[in-house]
Subunit: 139 residues, 3 copies
């Protein structure tokens, strides 16, 4: 059994979903593990991870719009306001989605459906650099 | 270390929660792995996975009812409407729940509480066949 | 490859987030596995798990407050009311967050960001003892 650790950095430019499927696959292609578990963790609590439809960009816009309506950026609603009106909503949206994804690798391919992509969900307004730790365990 | 891949197909007949615990256990019983990780991924973005109470069927109905109220099937709310009024809500509900579950297997049994079951959460109105990839890694 | 199973018990005293990061790390420190996967499952459906900010306690209060507003404790909204007004909302909140977390261990340390902690999210009002199964697989 082998284990490989890697980090992928994503530059975000405001709220929305950022597809990192290609970056993960491109790294995976170079590894000498055929079958195993790929565990991806986002090392932040104001951005999160989701598996979503990779076909119609409107899906991604609708998702972001829905979450902004569900968790309003309104300082009157929260005590934790010192880091900006988008920070506490970002923590809540992270709790409502995922901080980690565990994927299965079979014959060097991620077991995903044809319409599924891997997305970083950025919940902050300003630019950020987000680190996604990748941990591949298999043989 | 051994790795085994398998697919379980679930026929759904409209929105709601479908218990697949028995199907997973029945397959698991036949494998020669005593301890390990079982990673389950749903290969779709309009249905999802949850661990939920397996005792009172009202819990499942209340869950489905709550999610339908939280994410209304109203085309005026979304841009992505070409696939039906239930499609964009289905993507949102998937983001709010899980696309994958990672379970621990100890002495051939899934580490679940006495009241916990494995559920497919169907978010579409029409009939569908849903594929759940199962990946067992252990020894 | 080695596999170790362990249970951590958390006594909760009403709704809110309970940090168990130290308990998990303290157990992890005693194990002879350097790199691997740590799979944590909560064996209940009325409490859940989240990775959240570990700095400002207001974040935890705001989270709990938001979830209580999103999923009201109002028996008129649910059919499943026999176990108390907080029980069905607890199941819904569990579905909206996570029943399990899969973490990566590198050089005996959990791959978490500097601001991330591991939290049990208690959704019931009364005192409870919650069991978190820990399964470490690696070498």
């Amino acid at each position: 059994m082998q284990q490989i650790f890697h980090e992928i950095k994503i530059s975000t430019n405001g709220q929305g979903l950022y597809d990192f499927t290609k970056q993960t696959i491109s790294w995976l292609d170079k590894q000498k593990i055929n079958n195993g578990i790929l565990n991806i963790n986002i090392l932040h609590t104001s951005a999160s991870l989701v598996i979503q439809e990779n076909a119609d960009p409107d899906v991604l816009n609708d998702l972001n719009f829905f979450f902004n309506k569900l968790v309003p950026m309104d300082n009157k609603l929260y005590k934790h306001t010192a880091e900006g009106k988008d920070d506490m909503p970002a923590h809540i949206k992270s709790a409502l989605t995922n901080s980690q994804l565990t994927l299965s690798i079979k014959n060097k391919e991620i077991m995903l459906g044809g319409w599924q992509g891997l997305y970083l969900f950025e919940h902050r307004i300003e630019k950020h650099t987000r680190i996604l730790s990748h941990h591949l365990m298999g043989e």
